[in-house]
Each structure stands twice: as structure tokens, then as C-alpha cells.
């Protein structure tokens, strides 16, 4: 059940992928505390339904551009958990050989153009991938946070994508905080999706903690993109369970707000929905066990991998 196929084909497998992301983030959190993950890292626990629901609407050859909170983007598109964990740990088996770290992952094989360490960068990369995609029948997706909607990248690129009718889906993961600052204090009008109106672009506001809602909206947006009808902005409302980064205990968030969102945990929502649709407790338990075991093996493999040897493969400034 651990990423036997790049993109989850069913909701049960989508749920398993969400669980994989959750377990991955908790594993990275533990390893960070032990000093195995270096610098900083930005965990996406709580937001899993967004990348999984969007990627379930994609083909394997479609392009995805993620953020520095990008572990979920990579795992949802098919980056193997052991290679991603190796990258977090700075090991030679990492998807970028330890050169990228947590914030800058690239996985060409799985259509991950990149995760971008600077707010808004994914938006532009996806517009460019849309230029390629338009020729190839591929769709490009930009994941970005609510904070990015105040960047020049957002406004310039939504306009450009709309003017050029590019096959791009802009997915805003609105987790209500840009780093430590609430949306209300940083974003005039407090509304993000509606900004698309200025760019003559269709938009939807989506329950970002509901895998089905995200998948449905993404299916519509991807259909428009692939059909030549241009870009869409999806604002997926969600919540991160951890702080912004490893240095942030997120004390600025009111207890009632945290409690409210923890009560809408996307994993719990998905599990209840699957149960109500007839998936048995045994099936779910087996899926969960297989996912957790697979992830445990992936983390062990990463921990066992060697660090890259600087003398073995010196960096080259340019592609020859």
C-alpha cells in the first residue's frame, strides 16, 4: 500500500497516501528532535487532503510545483518516501542526493518541477510548466499558501496565465496564517479566491480537509485546463497541526481555533466517509498497518543510508 503506484487511484488509496504524509511528517518531527534533520523543516500535517485530492485528479506525466511545506506535494505525486526522507536527512539516497534538503526538493521522474523555498516561487514555475504542458497535453499545478497571495508572483502569474489561457491549476492552501501572522492582518479584504475575478479566472472555495471535495474541485479545474479552457484558482481552506517551521510553537493561535480544526482532521473525515461508504474496519486497519509499516521501513532505510561524500562527486557549476 506504500506508493505502489505514483498517484492513488481510489479514495481508499488516497486515504492511505494522506496517512503516509501524516506519518512521514510525524517521523520527520521525531527525527528533527533527535538532530537527524538539519536546519529547519516545515511540516504539512493537517493539510494532507489538499495535495492528495489534487494529485488524484492528475495524470502521472502532469507537472506539480510545491512549496517549502512540500513533503505532502512530493509524496502525493509519487516521490518515494525513502528517497524523500533521505533528502530530509541529508543522505546520499535522497531524491536530490542531499543537495536540496527539506525546502528545495526536485523529482523530475514524478513530474515534481520543484519545491520552492521562497514564498510564491511555485506559482511562476507552474506557469512556465503550463507553457510546456500546453504543447504536450499536460496540466501544471501550483501549490502555494495564503501568504503567497500577497506576492508579486501571484498577481503577475495569474494575470499571465489567464491572458495566455494556460493549462494551469493554482491551488492555494489557505491555512489561515502566513508564517506567524493571521490572514486578517495581512490580506486586504480577507478573501483570496475572489482575487481570481480580477484576472477573469474561474475559482472555487473548497473544504481543504475533505478529500472528496478537493478531488471534485480539482477534477473540474484539471478538466478545464486539459480542455483548453485555461487556468483555475482553487482556495482550499485547511489548517496546519504544527507551527510554521521547527522554530515556531504556534502560540499565536487561539486554543478554540486549534480545537475546532483538530476536530476536522482530514484523516478522520476521510476515514468516516470511507466507513460510511462500506469500506470495512478490517480493510481500513489493514491499509493503515501496511502504510505505517512501509513508512517505518522507508525511514529506517534513510537512516541507514550514508551521507554524501564531498570528494566522491564534486559539484559542477554548469551542465556540460
Amino acid at each position: 500500500m506504500l506508493q505502489t503506484i505514483a498517484i492513488p487511484p481510489t479514495y481508499t488509496e488516497g486515504y492511505a497516501r494522506m496517512l503516509l504524509i501524516r506519518e512521514f511528517e510525524q517521523g520527520i518531527h521525531r527525527l528533527f528532535m533527535k538532530g537527524e534533520v538539519h536546519g529547519t523543516t516545515h511540516l504539512s500535517a493537517g493539510q494532507e487532503a489538499v495535495p492528495v485530492g489534487v494529485c488524484m485528479a492528475l495524470q502521472p506525466h502532469d507537472y506539480v510545483c510545491g512549496t517549502y511545506r512540500g513533503h505532502g506535494h512530493a509524496l502525493a505525486k509519487g516521490t518515494p518516501a525513502d528517497a524523500l526522507a533521505g533528502e530530509m536527512l541529508g543522505r546520499a539516497n535522497g531524491v536530490c542526493g542531499g543537495r536540496a534538503g527539506s525546502m528545495n526538493v526536485v523529482d523530475v521522474e514524478h513530474g515534481l518541477v520543484g519545491c520552492f523555498g521562497i514564498v510564491g516561487g511555485s506559482i511562476a514555475a507552474a506557469v512556465g510548466a503550463g507553457l510546456s504542458g500546453r504543447r504536450e497535453g499536460r496540466v501544471s499545478v501550483a501549490f502555494f499558501g495564503d501568504g503567497a497571495s500577497n506576492q508579486a508572483y501571484f498577481h503577475e502569474c495569474l494575470n499571465l496565465a489567464s491572458v495566455m489561457s494556460l493549462p494551469t491549476v493554482f491551488v492555494c492552501e489557505n491555512n489561515l496564517y502566513g508564517e506567524f501572522t493571521p490572514l486578517s492582518a495581512s490580506t486586504a479584504g480577507g478573501r483570496i479566491a475572489e482575487r481570481a475575478e480580477s484576472y477573469a479566472m474561474p475559482y472555487e472555495i473548497v473544504d481543504g480537509n475533505d478529500l472528496w471535495a478537493v478531488h471534485d474541485a480539482a477534477t473540474r479545474a484539471v478538466g478545464r485546463a486539459r480542455g483548453g479552457d485555461g487556468p483555475t484558482l482553487l482556495e482550499c481552506r485547511t489548517y496546519r497541526h504544527f507551527g510554521h517551521s521547527k522554530s515556531d510553537p504556534a502560540k499565536y493561535r487561539p486554543a478554540e481555533e486549534v480545537e475546532h480544526w483538530l476536530g476536522r482532521d482530514p484523516l478522520v473525515v476521510a476515514r468516516e466517509r470511507l466507513r460510511s461508504e462500506g469500506v470495512t474496519e478490517e480493510e481500513l486497519a489493514a491499509t493503515e498497518e501496511a502504510t505505517r509499516e512501509g513508512l517505518e521501513r522507508a525511514l529506517e532505510a534513510a537512516l541507514a543510508a550514508p551521507f554524501p561524500d564531498p570528494a566522491e562527486r564534486p559539484g559542477r557549476e554548469f551542465k556540460p
Binding site: 507537472y63 510545483c65 535522497g94 531524491v95 536530490c96 542526493g97 543537495r99 536540496a100 528545495n104 526536485v106 523529482d107 523530475v108 521522474e109 518541477v113 520543484g114 520552492f116 523555498g117 521562497i118 516561487g121 506559482i123 511562476a124 514555475a125 507552474a126 506557469v127 512556465g128 510548466a129 503550463g130 507553457l131 510546456s132 504542458g133 501544471s140 508579486a152 508572483y153 503577475e156 502569474c157 494575470n159 499571465l160 491572458v163 495566455m164 559539484g315 559542477r316 557549476e317 554548469f318 551542465k319 556540460p320
Partner: protein
């Protein structure tokens, strides 16, 4: 006599030939397609290749660079124009943090083969925000090439090389070169990036220059020859990679190096070149110095801008003083 080619026509020919040669090449920017470019360097390309491959864009420099990056990372070879080099401050995040880093950070999974062309340089009375030579802004950024041709033949051969290069290339076209005519290159000629050229051989002094500075150095060399000073002019062609070897080889023969730069000394390429030559070739060096601009923005008024900009005359005076040649011959 060989056929003559205008610098702006050389740019257009290079674009046309590479658009023809490789379907992955696209070209876009502000007013480049239907209007044909504000320096009239790119007319007719949209008519020939269609609006899917040659198109006008909004005035959104950051989006242009980001779009070029994303397209380049996914198999295309975008060439885009940032109209004036000064505007390159706007797309810096995409160029510096995305394009320049992809090859290394991805562990060589992918690179970003894009070219960004701009008109650069002072002397046109364009003022402080339309006159800079932005090549040195990339001096501390591994992973991005910085190319600046000095002649029509170089413009064509180097732009063709830049478009075929698998790495991002910043391409600087000096405003005061667009109307210059020079011998046309051989058909299909591509000039390798990273190799300086000896534009004029000499035995007494090496002058290293780039872009419009090469013409100034050549003019100065002609006048200094009447003083009996034989100047070797090295046309650097690119600032990154910087061909220090060719300069060092020249200095090994002439024992003197003048680095002539249109830009301030602090943070410029001239001082860095002196350091690189001295570091590994001090035994060959009798003298080395720079001519650069003042540490101020480029002024507007003709009297101020003319005083600000070094020229062939500045070089001649400086060399005479440095070599103790006394005053000018009557």
C-alpha cells in the same frame, strides 16, 4: 570585402535561425513580437513563427522569468527579453533562486536552458534607471552564465550558443552597439561561451574589456600605437564563466594589465579579474590597474554623463600616465 551586418540584425538572425532549428525555442517579452522590440531588434519573428512561439507579454518581469524557468525546466528553450537591463532587478528571485540553482540542487536531474536578453549600458541619456550594465549583479551567483558581445559577429554567434546552452544565460546587448556594423560571421557560426578572444595582438600592455568597452579599447590601442605602445586587447565575451586563463596568458607576454569596466569598481568584474591574474601569475606582473566609473548612479545631463563614462580618451590618458610617457605629442 566581406558582407557587413548590423548588430541588431545579428540578434534577429540568431533568434530566427535558432527558432527555425529547434521547435523547443520560444521567444517572448514586452513589445517584442508585433512591435518588433523597442530597439527594433526582433521584427518579423512572430509573422514567421506564429504567436505560439513568439509573443508579447504583460509588463510583468517576475512572471516572465518564472515562466521561462518553468518552461525551461520542463523541456523548452525559452528566450525572453527584459527590455532594459535595469529592469533585471524585478525578476531576480526567479533567475537567482530558481534558474541558477536547478542543475546543482536537483542533483543534475534537470537544468534551466533559458536566455534573458536585455539592452544595457550608459551613454544614451537614459538616466539612472535605464543605463546600467547589470552583468556584475550575477557575479556572486554560481549557475548562471553572463554573456556580452562586442560586435555583430559576436552577437550572432554568442546568442546562438546561449540558446543552445543547457544552462541559464544572461545576455547583455549594449545600446550603443545596436547600430554598429561589422563583418558578418560565416554561416552557422556558433561562438563557444567562456572563451575570451584576443581582439588585437600587442606586446606592451593587455587591456581586458567586454561589450562596448572592446571598441573603446581598440580605438585607444590605435592611438597608443603612435606612441610606440603595442596594446593587446582581450575581449572577455562573458563574465561568467570568466576566461582568466586567456588574460593570464596575455599578461605573461605583456606584463601589464588594464581592466576597463563600464561600472563601479566596487563589486565589479575588473577588480576581480586583477585579483585572479595576480593570484596565480604575480611573477609576470609589472603593473595592473582598473578604469571604472564613479561610485554613483549614472547621471542624465550630457555633461554629467560624458564625464561619468570612461572612453578611449580616458584609456589613452591613463596608459600614458601609468607608463610615464609624458604629455601628448604635439
Amino acid at each position: 570585402m566581406s558582407e557587413m551586418l548590423e548588430f541588431r540584425a545579428a540578434i534577429r538572425e540568431a533568434l530566427e535561425e535558432e527558432l527555425e532549428r529547434d521547435d523547443a525555442v520560444v521567444f517572448f517579452g514586452e513589445d517584442v513580437a508585433r512591435p518588433g522590440g523597442v530597439f527594433a531588434a526582433t521584427p518579423g519573428l512572430q509573422e514567421r513563427f506564429g504567436p505560439e512561439r513568439v509573443f508579447d507579454t504583460p509588463i510583468s518581469e517576475l512572471a516572465l522569468a518564472g515562466a521561462a524557468f518553468g518552461a525551461a525546466a520542463t523541456g523548452m528553450r525559452p528566450v525572453f527579453e527584459i527590455m532594459f537591463g535595469d529592469f533585471m532587478a524585478l525578476p531576480m528571485d526567479s533567475l537567482v533562486n530558481q534558474a541558477a540553482k536547478l542543475w546543482y540542487v536537483s542533483n543534475e536531474q534537470a537544468s534551466a536552458p533559458l536566455v534573458v536578453r536585455s539592452a544595457v549600458g550608459a551613454g544614451g541619456r537614459f538616466g539612472a534607471m535605464h543605463s546600467q550594465f547589470h552583468g556584475t549583479w550575477f557575479d556572486g551567483i554560481p549557475g548562471i552564465k553572463v554573456v556580452a558581445p562586442s560586435s555583430p559577429a559576436e552577437a550572432k554567434g554568442l546568442l546562438k550558443a546561449a540558446i543552445r546552452d543547457d544552462n541559464p544565460v544572461v545576455f547583455l546587448e549594449h545600446k550603443r552597439l545596436y547600430s554598429v556594423k561589422g563583418p558578418a560571421p560565416a554561416a552557422g557560426e556558433v561562438i563557444p561561451i567562456g572563451e575570451a578572444a584576443v581582439a588585437r595582438p600587442g606586446s606592451d600592455l593587455t587591456i581586458a574589456a567586454i561589450s562596448k568597452g572592446v571598441a573603446d579599447a581598440l580605438a585607444a590601442a590605435e592611438r597608443l600605437a603612435t606612441d610606440g605602445v603595442e596594446v593587446e586587447v582581450v575581449d572577455l565575451r562573458s563574465l561568467r564563466p570568466l576566461d582568466v586563463e586567456t588574460v593570464r596568458g596575455s599578461v605573461a607576454r605583456t606584463n601589464r594589465l588594464l581592466a576597463y569596466e563600464e561600472g563601479p569598481r566596487t563589486g565589479g568584474w575588473a577588480a576581480g579579474l586583477l585579483g585572479a591574474v595576480a593570484e596565480d601569475g604575480l611573477e609576470h606582473v609589472d603593473d595592473l590597474w582598473t578604469i571604472t566609473t564613479a561610485e554613483t548612479p549614472v547621471p542624465y545631463s550630457p555633461t554629467l554623463e560624458d564625464a561619468f563614462l570612461p572612453s578611449a580618451e580616458t584609456i589613452v590618458d591613463s596608459v600614458r600616465a601609468r607608463l610615464n610617457l609624458g604629455g601628448r605629442p604635439g
